[in-house]
């Protein structure tokens, strides 16, 4: 068996670790690129969401490299994601590419069902080895999340942000190569000390922006034109509402593990604005925005693929959150046509806006302290 898994940002690192640990051949598709997207767009339904199109591109590439099995996460609705795997397999079959599909979804929430499916992917390996592999891979996911956050810190503060990118790339490579838990920890530590060694801007207090929205676009830099990097280089400290371990925990482990920056409280935070789940992460998007506002962030950016159903619900409600918690929110739709130049202009305008608001609020509060009372 040669197994593959579509890209979504850095998720390939833990997935590859899982299969390496089990000695199962893993086919890593080429990283997402314009080529992947046009390949995927060509063979996908026109109205499909962007992640679907990229998936198709990855799977065609992986099949060309000899993959015979695709691993997918699933779901039972109400978002389209739950039907991705099956439709993708059909599309590929019509192209003469026959991939076996293993869906890593806990069927109707049963963990034994999940275990059976993991076994399907892991073949004849004994259980202790499988559990060891899962732990090791999840450890890498957690480490990746920490590293990304270290980089979030470094980008706006480094005198030369390119050096932060270098540290990031090095960390990705090293994490991929780490062979055991100790090695994984070492990469995080090394990354931290490399960032400490960077020359930083003096007395610089960056603006803080929280990113919320559809998970794939949030986690996959290609699909959102690497918005985090752009913001960082524009001097903004970025945080996002979900990290890879959070996604894995939710989609595969049913919330059994502890994820990096756990977001289980986001649903409750969303309630005053959206009192019901709408599939995908629509409700968490609202909750995440509320959370960022409460933590004193200066602005929120909402990312979503065009035609994304849960997030379009969130997009319609976010103006209320923005008004009632007085935090600027910008909505950014991404699709295969969105251009990088346009994005940069919009980001710059948004940063100007939140910077102005911040200064104005400070002036008002200064005035109140000095002249008020």
């Amino acid at each position: 068996m040669k197994i593959t898994f579509p890209h979504m940002g850095n998720i390939w690192i833990p997935v590859k670790a899982l299969f390496d640990y089990l000695d199962i051949e893993f086919v890593l598709p080429p990283q997402n690129s314009k080529r992947t997207l046009s390949l995927g767009t060509q063979h996908s339904p026109e109205g499909a969401c962007l992640p679907f199109k990229l998936n198709i591109g990855n799977l065609i590439d992986a099949a060309a490299q000899g993959a015979d099995t695709m691993l997918m996460t699933g779901g039972v609705g109400p978002c389209r994601f739950g039907y991705y795997g099956d439709l993708e397999r059909d599309i590929l079959a019509d192209l003469g590419i026959n991939l076996k599909l293993i869906t890593l979804e806990p069927p109707d929430g049963s963990l034994t069902g999940l275990a059976r499916r993991i076994k399907l992917a892991a073949g004849d390996k004994p259980w202790p080895r499988i559990i060891g592999a899962v732990k090791f891979a999840y450890g890498k996911a957690l480490a990746m999340d920490r590293i990304e956050d270290i980089i979030h810190w470094a980008r706006p503060r480094a005198l030369n942000p390119r050096l932060a990118e270098e540290i990031y790339r090095q960390a990705q490579t090293e994490l991929d190569q780490a062979r055991d838990a100790k090695g994984v920890d070492r990469v995080v530590r090394d990354t931290r000390s490399r960032v400490r060694g960077l020359a930083l801007k003096q007395d610089y207090e960056p603006l803080r922006v929280g990113i919320v929205g559809e998970i794939y676009t949030l986690l996959d830099p290609f699909s959102c034109h690497d918005i985090e990097r752009h913001l960082g280089h524009l001097g903004v400290h970025v945080d996002r509402s979900i990290y890879i371990s959070g996604w894995i925990n939710e989609h595969v482990f049913q919330g059994l593990y502890k994820a990096y920056k756990d977001i289980s409280h986001h649903k409750a935070l969303a309630k005053p604005f959206l009192n019901h789940t709408v599939g995908g992460h629509g409700q968490e998007t609202i909750g995440g925005a509320v959370d960022f506002a409460r933590h004193g962030f200066d602005g929120v950016i909402h990312l979503l693929p065009l035609t994304c159903m849960p997030e379009i619900v969130a997009a319609s409600i976010l103006p209320q959150v923005s008004k009632s918690l007085q935090i600027p929110v910008m909505t950014l739709y991404v699709d295969e046509q969105a251009g990088e130049a346009g994005l940069l202009t919009r980001l710059e305008a948004f940063i100007d806006l939140i910077d102005r608001e911040k200064r104005m609020n400070r002036r008002i509060s200064d005035e109140q302290t000095v002249l008020g009372g």
């Binding site: 339904p45 026109e46 109205g47 499909a48 969401c49 699933g74 039972v76 609705g77 109400p78 978002c79 389209r80 739950g82 039907y83 795997g85 099956d86 439709l87 059909d90 599309i91 019509d94 599909l101 869906t103 604005f273 959206l274 009192n275 019901h276 789940t277 709408v278 599939g279 995908g280 629509g282 065009l306 035609t307 994304c308 159903m309 849960p310 379009i312 619900v313 969130a314 997009a315 319609s316 409600i317 103006p319 209320q320 739709y333």
Partner: protein, 327 residues
């Protein structure tokens, strides 16, 4: 008491249920007028550009209720109306979306209908609605029973091929059973298909070309389930499930000569279902056409496309008849 009901989206699936329920309680329902140009345009302006056509139209209906002096606007949150299925995510968030966009609406009357795990939740939701309006449990129970009955009758009428406009009023009429040369399976959400303005009256246009139209509502749920069981993965959107099951049944039915999928721009489920139907048709050599409507779709272009499609079907049928006559 007067309650406003927008004539859009779920109206086309559940109006008889609501109507009988509120009528039995003694509440007057004020339904927005059928979609018209001005109402449609208002909706397009109000709704977000990126959303699907039916949601845009719905905003026009909601807004038109503002001037109708109603005590409430009825916006149920229908999460799931059938075991193991959901409605579209957009409908799940609807009450909040509507009130965020139109802030000066009369109070919203809502309740969650979630029958995903338990069909009894229907009664519970209706009771909750009745209680909010201040009725006692006995009275509500009567209304619940009337509501169920009306809905069942409506669905039966549709199943028997009754026109939507009559069925929704619970009326039956003699159907014309003359043999037709061409029969077309028309697929699509009820709120597209049966909204004459929004759908550019595609059904009417096809009838004018002398074809008979059958829709997903005429396929019984046993048959839908039969086809769904053959899918490796359960289809979890209830309305799409019906569309997909009906499509497979039409493909298998030699008396159906071709399929037309009336889909709407920006619809998530449609993007997947239309593709699945198209693939299935291609594999089986069944003619298929998808029409994706948005607010800019022009009538003239549409007529040309429909005409060409019907002509093509007609030629195919003639060829087939010739072959069987000579063979």
């Amino acid at each position: 008491m007067r309650i406003g009901v927008p004539r859009g989206l779920l109206f086309f699936y559940y109006y008889p249920l609501w109507e009988a329920f509120f009528r039995t309680l003694g509440v007057e329902l004020v339904v927005s007028a059928p979609t018209s140009r001005p109402l449609f345009n208002r909706g397009v302006v109000l709704a977000s550009d990126e959303t699907c056509l039916p949601v845009k139209v719905f905003f026009g209906h909601i807004e038109s209720l503002r001037e109708k002096q109603v005590d409430y606007v009825f916006l149920p949150r229908m999460v799931s109306m059938e075991k193991r299925t959901y409605l579209c995510p957009k409908l799940l968030g609807f009450p909040e979306v509507v009130t965020s966009v139109i802030t000066d609406l009369p109070p919203v009357l809502t309740a969650n209908f979630n029958l995903r795990k338990n069909p009894k939740e229907l009664d519970k939701a209706l009771h909750e609605l009745g209680k909010q309006l201040g009725y006692n449990a006995r009275r509500i129970q009567q209304a619940v029973e009337a509501a169920r009955e009306a809905q069942a009758r409506f669905e039966d009428l549709l199943l028997g091929g009754q026109e939507f406009d009559l069925a929704v009023k619970g009326r039956s009429a003699e159907r014309n059973t003359a043999e037709v040369a061409l029969r077309i399976g028309v697929l699509g959400h009820a709120y597209m298909l049966y909204d004459r303005f929004t759908s550019l009256d595609i059904k009417g246009k096809l009838s004018k070309f002398g074809t008979e139209i059958i829709t997903a509502e005429t396929v019984d749920s046993g048959e839908i389930d039969h086809y769904m069981e053959q899918l490796p993965k359960k289809m979890f959107w209830s309305h799409s499930k019906r569309i997909l099951g009906a499509a497979y049944s039409f493909i298998d039915d030699p008396r159906v000569h071709g399929l037309v999928h009336l889909s709407c721009f920006g619809c998530g489920p449609d993007s997947m279902i239309a593709d699945m139907v198209e693939r299935a048709c291609r594999r089986r050599g069944k003619p298929f056409m998808v029409l994706t409507l948005d607010e800019h779709t022009g009538e003239a272009g549409l007529v040309t496309r429909l005409e060409a499609y019907v002509d093509m079907l007609r030629r195919r049928v003639e060829v087939e008849n010739n072959i069987s006559a000579h063979g």
